[in-house]
Amino acid sequence: MNPEKRFHVASPPRWVDRILQWFCAEEVIETLQGDLHELHRKRAQSHSKFKADFYFILEVLDVCRLFALKRKSRSNSNYTAMFKNYFKVAWRNLFKYKMYSSLKIGGFAIGISAFLLISLFVKDELSYDKNYKNGHRIYRVLNVSSDPSDPGKGTAFPAEIAAVIRDNFPEVEKAGRIIPYPGWWDSGNNQFRREDQKQNTYEEGFAYLDQDLLEILEIPMVYGDRTRALEKPNSMVISKSKADKYFPGEDPVGQTIILNEDESTPFLIGGVMEDFHTNAHLQFDFFITLTGKEFWPGEQTNWCCWNYNPYLLVKEGTDPGDLEDKLLLIRDNFIVKYALEQGDKRAEETKQYFSLELQPVSDIHLKSADIHDAVTRGDIRIVWLFVAIAGFVLLLGCINFINLSTAKSANRAKEVGLRKVVGSRRWHLVQQFLSESMMFSAISVIIGLLLAWIMLPFFNLLSGKILFIPWMAYWFAPLILIFIMFIGLLAGLYPSLYLSAFRPIDVLKGSLSQGSKSSKLRAAMVIFQFTTSIVLIVGAFMVHRQMDFILNKKLGFDKEQVLMIQGTNTLGDKLPVFKDELLTLSQVQNASVSDYLPVTGTKRDGNSFWKDGRSKMDEGINAQRWYVDGDYIDTMGIKLLEGRGFSDMASDSSAIIINQTMVKKLKLENPVGAKIMNWQTWNVIGVIEDFHFQSMKKEEIGALSLVRGNFGSVLSVKLRTIDMVGTMQSVNSVWEEFMPNQHIRYTFLDDNFTQMYGDVKRTANVFTAFSVLAIIVASLGLFGLSAFMVEQRGKEISIRKVLGASFQVIFQILTLNFLKMIVISLVIAVPLGYLIMEEWLAGFKYRIPIGWEVFAIAGIMVLFIAMATVSYESIRAAVVNPTKGLRSD
């Protein structure tokens, strides 16, 4: 029979059936599959096998509905329940042992907040100059000298450099220059006013800039066109904040500006730029155009003088290494050529030693430690130092957690044993203790975040930055989550492996000695903590001492009580009268006009000098030539060793006073009366003692000469007074008579001097702050351990007391162990600290020796803190009534 045959043929395709079985839940498959098969058979009989199969497939696809699908989670409900239990137990333990919990969390939270703060700092340091659209194509050009007698890298080039590069190298798209040197004509600071107003205001942050550089650095404009803002001669671009200050609510483009009361060259505002972001290596408010600028006749094409910092925008795909090689053309065709024209005997040597280098713009902030430039910048070494310190403080917090967790393991041993007996695998217990440490780490991170938030203003003071916590950033919450997991894992892994390894039989029989295992490891970790603390304390001490050393070193000039009145160039012809007027005040001892002062931010002027008549024969020596007036030496308290100072004699126009170093370098036997020359001949009339006019970090005292000049924008006034407020009032009233339209502006020489060493001071402060944090964290851990040990040996102590042990003996027993650890830490920390500090001090030309007393002080300090920490619990144990300890069983 046909139906019989069909009966066999007509079963639905197996693979579809399998799919159905795969996704369908057990409890619905029975009837569902039955119905589907029945339908298939009916269709196969009434229509055809093919149609039946087709409908079968459709129906199976249609069955993919919520009711039919397998529910995975249902079989795992046990799992979540266990996690709930883990957290419940963890939470109960947290409150059961409040002291230990708070020690763990406290140490953790401090470490985490330190880490967070440093992370903010590092993130900021790393963010410099990263936001240019064409950042990978922007380079700063460096000149590199490998001359053994004068090695170094610099950023300054002659004026024509940009034009030469632009004309000769097709791979360079744009080349632009900046003169950032304060004191170079209007670069640096100026008296600033709108043409239609009288009141002058002192402004800083001026620089000369090429139109092209505006485009290379992609400076965002508020008003005006970036491609044309500095196009016209005597145009200027000002920042948004300055525009808001002087032209509130209007577009200042086309307005006229007068600098330093010089109405003969008014400046036209060509554009307004956004304020520089704090993480740009250049920070200026005013750019004066270099278009059509010539500082003296022929200056723009003369290869004599190196004052321009060039930047390049190269074309896509240009290899900087190749371009550097090609740039050597400039050395051969221009620099050497100029030297030959001047009859410089060393011209050929230049070829050997001189090269050009391209520095990516994003490297400028952190990787310029060896480059002589005019940019305030960070130091990649300081960044790494901070990272290391933060890492260590965090690690100390983790160690506390590990130590206290394993020490207190006895409390959890029974739990572990019981869990194992009722079926927990080791992995389950690892999970349990990891989730517990995650919980601790989450609580600690939250508290750490709060701490960081509270400490941020202080940290900003320390680090000299304006940082904030990016709560709202999209990456912040996920990052914190990852951080919590990471810390939880770091701190929890060892304790969880340790705790989960207990054998139930030992634990439940009670034969597990409490926390005795791995006490060596704990000791090692305590030693690590204290070694770190001691090194940090030694570091803090040394940095502070080095600071003091520099700030109080005999400088060769007297920086105390010197008032520097700035902006006196606007007095013009009235300057000498003003000076005389000031000298009539009883509090004023002396006064001198000069822009050249022994603190940074004032003028410098390098020159080559020879003995008279030997300029074509000898190599010139490099020396400073400072224009000062006749009162300079007295005002600054510089010691005159031989000869005389400047007088009003007309012949003094070619008189020169030189320092000891210069005498030595020129090899003058009878300096006074000798003749020396640069491009004119000078008569040496006096020799002064060397004084520090540069930062003592890098440089030794160089050769320096003083020549006669009666001009300058700084009037230094030596005071003799204790009434600073009254004196300032008198000085101010004199100033007001002369300059009613300009506020007096002054600084003190010693303040400026201190500022020179701001970064050393910041390093010192950060060191101090973090060594304090480290010792707090380490002490917390030690306190926990000592409390634990006292608790553990409670019965022993009670019995000893009953048998007649004295307070001292008990105290000794309890503290000796810790004392040993501290001594070992000290032994490790001394050579380590010595090496690290030796490395740091190597960066200073004038430095202190590393004395043993620093280590002694740090050691005694740590010993004292540790002993005080340990003593609290020990003394408590030693004085407690022994019956208390023995009553319990």
């Binding site: 029975e30 009837t31 039955g34 119905d35 339908l39 069955v63 039919a68």
Partner: protein, 109 residues
């Protein structure tokens, strides 16, 4: 008790099939009465929902070879299911009274 329009139809079909109400039979009855062939997936989904709501009771029958060795599941209308049908119908008639010229009661047609 809220039930959807398709659920209402399934309930009616199960009720009218009496003791022989299982998946394929319900499907065929619905196809016969409404002219639309519901898919097995949709039908089973509705049957499970109605069972959850307490409108249906189920019991498993014997396996047959023509069903690939799988058992049938028979459904019975419960008292609650009946009440729900009455309630749905009452609501419908009540609404129809508000609509002029529309009379849904069968006896007056």
């Amino acid at each position: 008790m809220k039930i959807g329009a398709f659920e209402e139809l399934v309930l009616l079909a199960v009720g009218s099939l009496g003791e022989n109400a299982y998946g394929v039979a319900v499907k065929e009855l619905l196809a016969d009465k409404t002219g639309k062939i519901p898919s097995i997936g949709a039908l089973h989904s509705a049957l499970y929902r109605l069972e959850d709501k307490g409108c249906l009771l189920s019991s498993e029958g014997g396996a047959t070879s023509e069903r690939g060795g799988r058992r049938k599941k028979f459904y019975l209308l419960t008292a609650a299911g009946r009440n729900t049908l009455v309630e749905v119908n009452r609501l419908r008639i009540e609404f129809s009274k508000n609509i002029e010229g529309l009379n849904l009661s069968l006896d007056e047609s």
